[in-house]
Subunit: 323 residues, 2 copies
Amino acid sequence: MTRVAVDALGGDSAPGEVILGALDAAAEGVEIVLYGPAGLDTQGLPLVETTQVIDMADKPAESVRAKPDSSLVAAVRGVADGAADAVVSAGNTGAMLAAGLLHLRRLPGVMRPAIAVPIPTRRGPSVLIDAGANADNRPEHLHQFAHMGAVFGEELLDVANPVVRILSIGEEEEKGNHLAIEAHRLLREDSRLNFGGNAESRDLLRGAADVVVTDGFTGNIALKLLEGTIRELLDALRDELTATAYGKLGGLLIRPAARRLRARFDPDTYGGAYLLGLRGLAVVAHGNSGRTAIANAIRLAARGADHRLVERLSERLPERVRV
Amino acid sequence: MTRVAVDALGGDSAPGEVILGALDAAAEGVEIVLYGPAGLDTQGLPLVETTQVIDMADKPAESVRAKPDSSLVAAVRGVADGAADAVVSAGNTGAMLAAGLLHLRRLPGVMRPAIAVPIPTRRGPSVLIDAGANADNRPEHLHQFAHMGAVFGEELLDVANPVVRILSIGEEEEKGNHLAIEAHRLLREDSRLNFGGNAESRDLLRGAADVVVTDGFTGNIALKLLEGTIRELLDALRDELTATAYGKLGGLLIRPAARRLRARFDPDTYGGAYLLGLRGLAVVAHGNSGRTAIANAIRLAARGADHRLVERLSERLPERVRV
């Protein structure tokens, strides 16, 4: 049975919603180990007691060293020690990355870990990588991200030979900043990739590619913009509907359609993102994750573990990424 | 009367929709001069005959030099020569920038022109600058963009002392790539700006700031993602509604609400973006602009001319941007 270490204190709604989400995943057969303070009401789930907490405002690297017995760090160590197959936290993403680098360490040959996040598109999920593990990247980092994303696409999206594209400001190869243009050149010359050229951000939700590669700054801006725009638009729709009697009646009738729309686009449906490039599987969930998002993040982690994602990356990455 | 030079051959729907949009603006009192080929049916609008065409695939700088009598270049020259107060094209944005640099030239002290685009937010329009005039920027460019955006906010959005923020991946000053962090430092130390720190992309549509400053690559990715997401979501809503009978009936009832939503978020409502930093006023409209978008872009150009935007920038920028 797949064992997932869960940081009970990670996120805005912790520990309540985290425990509820963990219970949902446990009911489906995922073996959960919670990491949190003594006395926490885990509703029967096993608890590894921890004494410290990393919060969202803590500086990642410092807090991970200063708080070795925090729920987040201890949960990551759970994977390093073999007590769990994967770890999930809705806490400080930077701290997860720092804890992963310290306790799980990088896979051989990996220059920079990256956040791979599934994006809902019209054609099914795409992977956006890097969605924010890095602030500044070099072209060779993007080249590795392309390979990591391709492995992700093959293993978890069941896409044979996934199409990889670079996020840029025009489809032509000469369009982009220096980084995108140089990365384009590296990917184009790598016959091991099914490279489809540049993708424009306006096509992201249409399913421009199976794997969309970008630097962590641009990827994080893109991901948060996508989420913010979807939320704002769905909220605005609700406001417009409640503004008139006809709208209210119509709103009742379209409720199932609106719910399907929300389910299709809501980031919570996907729940979390993988930190790829480490010698252990780590999933970061949104800071504002509720029960559903936490359960989905745990499912994502379990799925990655079942597909032996880290082993697949480790088998295939070293030979693929030597550039 | 404000005179606007309009490139009749710019954009996917040219010349038909361009002429219709120009007629709409002319009916409101804007004096239009169309630039296009002899024999074009302008429905009575004055025409300056041109013999060449720049298309979307043309390389900007080359095409502007190779096709001096293209409708786009001739329309820009119309402003340089004083025949018009502003120019509008839905054609090749890069060519507009190149033509602007060649024939209008930069305002004294301006290092890089930038595209300033109004973004619809919950609190009214914000300005995003640079939305794509540049591929690579330095911190001092962003510093100038902040001042250009502030002048735009004061003159065209009627905001006294507009709040300026930098688009980044966290609100804390240490969050961001090297460029954003350095630009943050420059803006923070400039007492002439009402600097509000970093803004996250998820807050863009909520109205995070009056002026959102970023480099042209990130800004272009953000703008196109915003537009693509809005379009995709509104399309998906329509698809969901037509999937069931209840949905269809509900869809009829909510049609006015959906229309208000579209009007509020549709990029066409704003119509175009200013190229700021030149000695003449240039507005670039979307390549896929229809009649409404063209008319709005012409209104935007006329409004900028009426507010003497270029003069205001020229009066205030040189003293403000010396850093």
